[in-house]
Amino acid sequence: MNFILQGIDWIFDPARWSGPGDMQSRILEQLAYTFGAVAIAAIIAIPLGLLIGHTGKGRDLAVSLSGGLRALPSLGLLIIFALLIGIGFKAPLLAFVILAIPPVLSGAYAGIEAVDKRTVDAARAMGMTEWQVLTKVEVPLGAPLIVAGIRSGILQVVATATLAYFASGGALGVYINDGLATRNYVELLGASIVVTALALILEGIFALAQRLIVPRGVTAGQVKDVRSRPVRSRATVGSPIQEGK
């Protein structure tokens, strides 16, 4: 525990917060990687996820793709990009985009899939076009899971962005590199505490945002008792429900 107190002292050392390469800029670099990578991943993965969730096509491919990407070791991915496209911020950013795609993609298609198919059929029966069904029914109702996917993407990248220093890409890992090189355990611990605090703060903010973003109608219909499970029949998209047969 003594080490942890020393680590906290290290963080609040005034020298840490001034001059070139100070703590503020390291934290900003870490956040820039996080939001940059997740934004790019969202631009790619959310339309794809919505398409898969809405049409039900390519679902198996998406599942195995996101599972396979998940097995990729982040460190190896980052280093191979650093070797192939050179050091700097591009290699880590590319690696982080690839890391962020699986959670964002699976959140998007799981969100759409989780929408009660009877609701979708009702929307269609009311004369909504497919685009209206997607944007006015499926996306709002699937929003909790879509946001959860983005949230876990952010969480993953904010943690992994520490490794950017392997490609000389800055961020908080620079302190870890220093600490390892000089065998300074207190510095290692201090940097670790900052990274962890950053992750916890972002998680907190997003947990709150997730609550605010969910339409009121969705929570109103939710089952409060976590142990009971609604029995939901699934109608197939695009084909009539065969009732009474």
């Binding site: 097995a71 070791p73 943690a159």
Partner: protein, 229 residues
């Protein structure tokens, strides 16, 4: 690719080390989260507490966790135990929720029928609830296995040798083939582990083969989350 041909022995021995570091967290995570998951499913109070704690533990990035563990549990900084304990924490964090969901997925009517047939609480758990929760448990275990295998290599940063050594050494010596062989070996381990888990599932739960649709419905409940470095 010349490098790979000349260093197959090294890659193989590092692969074995990676496997040895990945197996204990997966098994320990499963065993530890069974009682915790049961508690989380059984009582409302413990559910909130356990799921919040496991959610927070899951949020801690792995590299900082590996660095901080020696200060908390008093191990040496280069001790592989740090990596095993750290990965076990993630496995438990993931599996507690999954175990609670798995036990909740058992049809209450089935449980009541078991009680009516004279099962005691203990034997009803092991003979009825646990097997029926199997498919959902297996789905969680597969996620744990994949993420554990890929996270082991982060340990190399703090000096716990594994396939991550190939990444760091390949970076220093500028040999892309070395880094790629490390990535491929990690993927192969993850796939083999997954096949083994699926195989065990088929052996122990033969009924899931007939009941594919139910299995698929459970598979959808996979956690969206994954741990970063």
């Amino acid at each position: 690719m010349n490098w790979v041909a000349n260093n197959l022995g090294l890659v193989w021995s590092l692969t074995l080390i990676q496997v040895a570091l990945a197996i204990p967290p997966i098994i320990l995570g499963f065993v530890i989260s069974l009682p915790l998951g049961w508690l989380a499913n059984r009582f409302r109070v413990t559910r909130g507490a356990l799921l919040t704690i496991s959610g927070l533990l899951y949020t801690i990035p792995s590299l900082p966790l590996f660095i901080a563990l020696p200060a908390i549990i008093g191990t040496g900084i280069l001790d592989p135990v740090n990596v095993i304990v750290g990965l076990t924490i993630y496995a438990v964090a993931l599996m507690v929720r999954q175990t609670a969901d798995a036990l909740a997925s058992v049809d209450p009517d089935t449980k009541q029928a078991a009680t009516a047939m004279g099962f005691s609480g203990w034997s009803r758990f092991w003979k009825v609830e646990f097997p029926l929760a199997g498919p959902v448990l297996l789905a969680g275990l597969r996620v744990v296995s994949v993420s554990t295998v890929s996270l082991v290599s982060i340990g190399s940063v703090i000096g716990v040798t594994s396939l991550g050594y190939l990444f760091l050494n390949g970076l220093q010596r500028d040999i892309p083939g070395e880094v790629i062989s490390g990535i491929v070996a990690t993927l192969v381990i993850a796939i083999v582990f997954d096949l083994i888990l699926v195989g065990i599932g088929r052996l122990l739960m033969p009924w899931t083969r007939a009941d594919r649709r139910a299995g698929r419905r459970h598979a959808r409940r996979l956690p969206v989350a994954a741990v970063g470095a």
